[in-house]
């Protein structure tokens, strides 16, 4: 625990100083290099869940390995890197190895867990991306097995109540629905789409006028982290693009509307959080309540990256520059917390779970999903800005 790099990061956060904020490419390259290291140290081809100053490198994590695959493939395309694509393929093959006979993917870190709905849905993203990239049948076959299992364990009302984290249904299963809709588009198999539409309808039935939906937290008795809140709305937003046509009526429009209300409310909270008109916005709180308020004195950086992604996706489709503007600021904040100027290779390029580092969300740890969503946000932001700068 007593390490110079930790002492430096703690001092940095305690004093409120920032790492130098550089260009998107440099930060993305650092994040991807660290993610590659997370694969190299895992002892398999999966991604270590991350690095912790308390526990060292963590075991491989199937769920987040799955959704990191599209991130590696995007990096491979951006850099013309066969190595990144080959890493992604190894992750996909490893996930096929750990897929359980019924089609689900083990929950939690390591590979010995029971199948879990959310985790399985996230792995679908990886297999679908690899199928598109390589054309290999094994990936779509694995995806179909997973999709069939997801449909089979959904209840009649459209919720997933079995094989779920802490035994309760979650609104953030919208990301499972999004994955099923992608699978339906690829395979033409209608039951995947129908299952997803039922779940999205169920989530929207709890929506309030300010965009809040219920059951976004890991546990009903806990506040919702921005991480799972952003999961929920990203799922709604992306699902909406698949649900615009008959027979789903206005389901897609409603899902998009709720995601947009979330995005604009949180944007306003963020932009107005300055303590001085000439200051910068404060970091978003780690958790939020149904009025989009957060009591926390720390921030969940992966949630911030995910929210920036939602702002960027909405900007792409609607052109409201305020969304892009807020995303640029939120991404700058994460850039300022990415551990780049350190001699410790275990954390160089990583993004902490919390700011400050000792915040409650993954205290003193660097989860792979924080780096993944940060890299995704940088990629999308870079593409959008290149379009604007070249216009």
């Amino acid at each position: 625990m007593c390490r110079p790099s930790l002492a430096r990061l703690v001092a940095r956060d305690a004093l409120g100083w920032e790492e130098p904020v550089g260009d998107d490419g440099a930060h993305r390259a650092a994040a991807m290099a660290w993610l590659a290291r997370a694969q190299d140290v895992s002892g398999c081809d999966g991604l270590s869940a991350g690095y912790s100053y308390k526990r060292g490198w963590l075991p491989p994590y199937p769920e987040t390995t799955g959704y990191a695959i599209p991130t590696f493939l995007a990096w491979a395309r951006a850099m013309g890197s066969d190595e990144a694509a080959e890493r992604a393929a190894r992750m996909g093959n490893w996930l096929i190895q750990v897929q359980l006979p019924e089609g689900g993917v083990p929950g939690g870190m390591g590979v010995s867990g029971e199948p879990v709905v959310f985790n399985t849905g996230q792995v679908l993203f990886g297999w679908l991306a690899l199928h598109q990239h390589t054309g290999r049948q094994a990936f779509i076959d694995a995806a179909r097995r997973a999709g069939d299992w997801l449909v089979s364990c959904q209840d009649g009302a459209g919720a997933w109540t079995r094989h779920v984290y802490r035994g309760v249904p979650h609104a953030y299963h919208t990301r499972v629905s999004w994955a099923l809709l992608e699978l339906a588009s690829r395979t033409g198999h209608a039951p995947y789409r129908e299952a997803a539409a039922r779940q999205v309808e169920g989530v929207l039935s709890t929506a309030r006028s300010n965009g809040w939906v219920d059951d976004m937290a890991f546990d009903p008795n806990e506040a919702a982290f921005t991480h799972t809140v952003a999961y929920t709305y990203r799922g709604l937003l992306e699902a909406a693009a698949h649900l615009g046509d008959a027979p789903y009526g206005d389901l897609g429009r409603r899902a998009r509307g709720v995601a947009r209300r979330f995005a604009t409310r949180v944007l306003r909270r963020f932009e107005l959080s300055k303590s001085h008109p000439e200051g910068l916005p404060r970091y978003l709180p780690a958790t939020v309540d149904e009025a989009w308020r957060g009591p926390d004195r720390y921030s969940c950086l992966t949630g911030n990256a995910q929210i920036a992604l939602i702002w960027l996706r909405l900007y792409e489709s609607g052109g409201d520059g305020r969304l892009l503007n807020a995303a640029l600021k939120a991404v700058d904040q994460i850039k300022a917390r990415q551990a780049r100027a350190t001699g410790n290779a275990d954390v160089r390029g990583a993004v902490p779970g919390s700011y400050p580092l000792w915040g409650y969300y993954l205290r003193l740890a660097f989860p792979n999903w924080a780096a993944k969503f940060f890299a995704d946000a940088l990629a999308l932001q870079g593409r959008i800005m290149a379009g604007l700068e070249g216009a």
Binding site: L15, G16, W17, E18, V21, E271, L272, K274, S275, H276, P277, E278, G279, L280, R282, D320, G321, R322, L324, N325, A326, L328, K329, D332, A336, M385, L388, E389, A391
Partner: protein
């Protein structure tokens, strides 16, 4: 248009006792307003200043802004900004002052005010009791915003003719911060909107709009400088009618526009590039 009876007891052509606000020790807008309003026959009587008066006050401001904001501001200050496309970006302000026969508006505002017989009142907060009491005691009819912070109930209720703000963007479409930059980014012509301050951000009744003239090679800084002359002339032209309650007023509806926030430097660079000017983002 909607009218108001707030100033109906004041003839439109009588001198208006007016106060200005400032958040900086050097403030060419406030300086030019003092001279121009006097020339128009009005009576600037006070400057309400929230400018930090000491090193300690500046430290307190830095603390309030957050160290990260200060760190970035200092870092930007060290960056080369390149040659300015239209010469000195402040030239339009100097040119306006010269045309009107005024001295340099870049002198410290307290000295300019003293010279003009205008009291400078240091107030920690424009909305505090001290500011309200000061304008009441001096029978100030209208306050003109030249910086210093947001206005809330305290001062709004203390000024019978209202608070005038020359907003750097076309209202109601572009409310909030960096309205000039946002309007340029979205393809709207650079405009000054003179309006009465209300409880919301830039939501009060609009009195007049005037385009900001553009010259070849103008970047953001040059347009901001050109704004100053347009703003001063708009205030001078409409102050009497506003104080008398006879100014034509266009009410804003909430849905007519959007509130914008401080523009990220990368978007400001996009605006600069589109203008063809040099990078002057800060």
């Amino acid at each position: 248009m909607s009218g108001s009876a707030r100033g109906a007891d004041v003839p439109a052509n009588s001198p208006v006792p007016v106060a200005l606000t400032t958040g900086a020790r050097v403030n060419p807008l406030a300086a030019l307003l003092i001279w121009r309003l006097r020339e128009a026959g009005h009576r600037p009587v006070a400057v309400l200043s929230t400018a930090p008066a000491s090193g300690l006050a500046r430290l307190a401001k830095a603390r309030s802004m957050g160290w990260a904001a200060v760190q970035r501001r200092l870092a930007r200050r060290g960056l080369p900004t390149g040659p300015r496309a239209s010469g000195d970006a402040t030239a339009p302000i100097d040119e306006y002052a010269r045309q009107r026969g005024y001295p340099s508006p870049w002198q410290p505002l307290p000295a300019i005010a003293r010279e003009a017989g205008v009291a400078v009142l240091r107030v920690g907060d424009l909305n505090g009791a001290a500011a309200s009491e000061a304008v009441r005691r001096r029978a100030v009819r209208v306050v003109v915003n030249a910086g210093g912070g947001l206005f809330r109930r305290g001062l709004l209720e203390a000024v019978p003719g209202g608070i005038l703000n020359a907003h750097m963007g076309p209202l109601p479409r572009f409310r909030g911060m960096n309205a000039l930059e946002w309007s340029l980014l979205e393809g709207a012509p650079p405009t000054v909107s003179l309006h009465l301050v209300a409880a919301g951000i830039d939501t009060g009744d609009v009195i007049a709009r005037e385009p900001i003239p553009r010259r070849e090679g103008d970047g953001i800084a040059a347009l901001r400088a050109r704004y100053v002359a347009v703003a001063v002339e708009l205030v001078a032209a409409h102050l009497g009618a506003v104080a008398a309650g006879t100014a034509a007023r266009q009410a804003q509806r909430r849905g007519d526009g959007r509130q914008y926030f401080a523009m990220h430097p990368r978007l400001a660079q996009v605006v600069e590039a589109r203008l063809g000017g040099a990078s002057a983002v800060g």
